[in-house]
Symmetry: C2
């Protein structure tokens, strides 16, 4: 067995299932759709709507957001600049694993720092990273405030809240911009789908 | 838009694509195959062979191993007991995300501590975690030693090496045991496939 395994080690390095094999099986290319924007700008909502549309046409998808990351993989991280950077680093690494797995992975996190987003971009193969700026005016985000977080931040009960007392660095050259103050949810999601078709991610 | 998004927030929580939707699309159930065993016991080799067989029949798979985890997500972890535990915790969380994504995810790590493996098991839905003990005598593993690590550990150049000067706690009730001293690679992989059929993961 010892020699067998060694011999096989050589063999399987050639025969290993790779991203392209999985993409062929799935019928579409893999990509990372990185949604970024202020709290309550609509990142998760749009990502989940895009997922609905993609799943309906047989695409392989996953959405990473606060619900499944902050309570799981990143539950041991806080909101200091170092922890925010590590938060985004881990999400970028996991997103890249899903790209390797042939999936269209969507990440919906504020990800306020340009440097951190660029780090995530660098982890993903060229042409497979789509930075999507969910661009919504602060006053509209604050008016929505479904979890009452802006209110708490204004009252000083939450510190380092992006948009209030922590910075948000808007993307300079995002692949997609969605103005959720002007577009409906359906139009927003369709804009993403169109971009995936134009770039050849979708057939 | 503000009211639209709020209303949609309520809607998509019902319409969100879930694991079962993805399993229906993929044509098989999701599972985590957790390979554990001594260094050079054959964990990665068998996992990659299982992946080849599964991919050939159209299953959605990924293998997490040292190559894509230790150099990526977990590159900021060492080999202290705390770091080993955090290493396994993160792998367990990522494996669970892949299960959520409808994938058959295989993890190939020594994962020497029972407590850590039980923690990983607890993260994955009931009935979807398969602990696979790649059971191989130490002297056979040491004889294989494709990377010369046992040799370095014996020479004292590597500390805390599992099997030499760090413990390996064998699983007490693994779902699958593979004796790679007695089975060929093909037989080993087939044993895993058979178990997946018996348990209904594969149709």
């Amino acid at each position: 067995m010892s020699d067998n395994v060694k011999a096989t080690n050589i063999t399987w390095h050639e025969a290993t299932v790779g991203r392209e094999d999985r993409e062929k099986l799935h019928g579409h290319r893999a990509a990372c759709l990185w949604f970024t924007g202020l709290p309550s700008s609509g990142k998760s909502t749009i990502a989940l709507e895009v997922e609905n549309l993609l799943h309906a046409q047989g695409c392989h998808t996953i959405v990473l957001d606060g619900d499944n990351i902050r309570h799981g993989l990143n539950k041991n991280l806080g909101f200091s600049p170092e922890d925010r950077a590590e938060n985004i680093r881990r999400i970028g690494e996991v997103a890249n694993l899903f790209v390797e797995g042939g999936t269209i992975v969507m990440t919906a996190f504020i990800s306020p720092y340009r440097e951190d987003r660029d780090m995530a971009r660098a982890l993903v193969p060229e042409g497979r990273f789509f930075e999507i700026h969910v661009d919504c005016a602060l006053d509209i985000c604050e008016e929505r405030d479904p979890k009452g977080l802006y209110k708490k931040a204004r009252a000083g009960e939450i510190k380092d809240f992006t948009g209030i007392d922590a910075p948000y660095e808007a993307p300079k050259n995002p692949e997609i911009v969605i103005d959720t103050g002007a577009l409906s949810l359906e139009e927003s999601a369709q804009r993403v789908i169109d971009a995936l078709k134009e770039s050849g991610i979708l057939p």
